[in-house]
Amino acid sequence: MLEIRVARRIGPLDLRIDLSLDGETVLLAGPNGAGKTTLLRLLLGVLAPDEGRIALGGRVLFDREQEIDLAVEDRELGYLPQDYALFPHLDVIGNVTFGLARLARSERLRRASDWLARLGASHLARRFPSALSGGERQRVGLARALARNPRALLLDEPFASLDQVARRELRVSMRGWLRDWQLPALIVSHDPADAVLADRIAIVERGRLIQQGTLDELQKAAASSFVSGFAGESV
């Protein structure tokens, strides 16, 4: 369970979001500048909310009143940025074991190989990121995030840097993976086609959560022109 109640002002953006994810996948959509990326940064701990509280599985990550603000590395969040941010100086196995520094070497390699295998990327282990396709990078980035057993997954535009074919293929795979993992997952996307991944869609506009629900619900009673456009297109 990921509970988010945060407020933060940056420049023209006045962000106030109240959102809970209960082991489900939520697609966070909204126009550019609505505050989606800012929300991710608040969750990751790169940016501190002005006020609010973030809790994950009973663990408080941030609480303004209790003065709790866990460091990024202690939040146990799996994060996959838009370009997957693989470390260019490490090969695939080096990337996946990066987050497993506390384990013994043999255990590290076993865990990393295991996750690469689950994501169908075992054959890439000794390659460097520059030699991978976009889809392969995404698999490696996911394996790297999941190898640490995160308590929630944050995906920022996971398909934006892929071509159409890879996008369709990986969307199908991703849907299966998300079902298997049963993790709270927040997917930021501007692509209505990504709605198939989510149990629920949350729409953010100008820093506010203006509507959430299933695709059906959004189609029937769209709260704004963005929502009707988004929900309409994804059919």
């Binding site: 790169v46 460091a71 990024v72 994060y79 470390f87 260019p88 987050g99 990121p129």
Partner: protein, 271 residues
């Protein structure tokens, strides 16, 4: 139109040729006007051995100082943009625009026996001026900006996402610096260290004023060239040729490293 273009081409060619000739002529002068026997004779000059040893020792010491403290400053400035960082960055650029002789006077007034900090050091039995440590300080002062600037630029080129991801993978800020920041910025850091070292090797003015010109203690290679000039031009020339050889070696290294200063993932993806 075509005539205009070729006239412009002509001006460019003439300008380039003149500039190139002007820059290479002194180097040719050093090499071409010295016979092999005179060169070997120059190498036997008693100034050479101590000066060479001292230059190697002091420049490697100053480089170590500049790299260690420069890395910390550069990372801080690059990763924490703001007013304090801008001030710090400007301070780190200052020695590059201060004339070396002025730097020498400044160092003397700061670390000399009656200097700002020197008076206090003197009371504790530490005398810096006109000693080998003074040479190291002078070299570190004038050469620091070359490394620091290059390191700040290299750290700024890093893709922010890579650093955030490293943190989400459990890496502390220090481990992120060590395992992601340093390796990805390495080409820029090496290039900066090479430039900085070259500046330290050639350092003359600040050293002369702050450290003096004492054989074996403060007389580095450039000061030995200056001293040799007074009695024996051939010896000065031979010493100079050694520095020229060092410079060429550095240029070679830089031209091989600098193109690699843009590793994938350090520049393009930062946008």
């Amino acid at each position: 139109m075509k005539a205009g273009v070729s006239a412009w081409d002509g001006v460019q060619l003439a300008g380039s040729a003149l500039m190139g000739a002007f820059l290479i002529l002194p180097v040719l002068g050093l090499v071409a006007t010295l016979s092999w026997e005179d060169f070997l004779g120059g190498l036997r000059n008693p100034l050479l051995g101590p000066a060479l040893r001292l230059s190697l020792f002091t420049t490697s010491s100053s480089l170590a100082l500049v790299v260690v403290f420069g890395l910390l400053l550069a990372w801080r400035v690059a990763r924490n943009p703001g007013r304090a960082s801008r001030v710090l960055e400007a301070i780190a650029q200052l020695p590059a625009v201060i004339p070396p002789a002025v730097a020498g006077v400044g160092l003397l007034l700061a670390f000399g026996r009656r200097g700002l900090l020197g008076a206090w050091l003197d009371r504790h039995g530490i005398g810096l001026a006109f000693s080998t440590p003074a040479v190291i300080l002078a070299e570190a002062f004038v050469s620091a900006p070359f490394f620091v600037q290059s390191a700040i630029a290299a750290f700024r080129r890093l893709d922010e996402n890579l650093l955030v991801v490293a943190r989400t993978l459990g890496a502390s800020p220090f481990r992120t610096f060590l395992r992601v920041g340093l390796p990805l910025a390495a080409p820029g850091l090496v290039a900066g260290a090479a430039m900085s070292w070259a500046r330290a090797v050639g350092e003359f003015g600040a050293t002369l004023l702050f450290a003096g010109n004492l054989t074996g203690r403060t007389q580095t290679m450039p000061l030995a060239v200056y001293t040799a000039m007074e009695s024996d031009l051939r010896a000065a020339q031979a010493l100079s040729l050694i520095l020229v050889a060092v410079a060429f070696a550095l240029l070679f290294v830089l031209r091989r490293v600098a193109p690699a200063a843009m590793l994938p993932g350090t520049e393009a993806r930062g946008a």
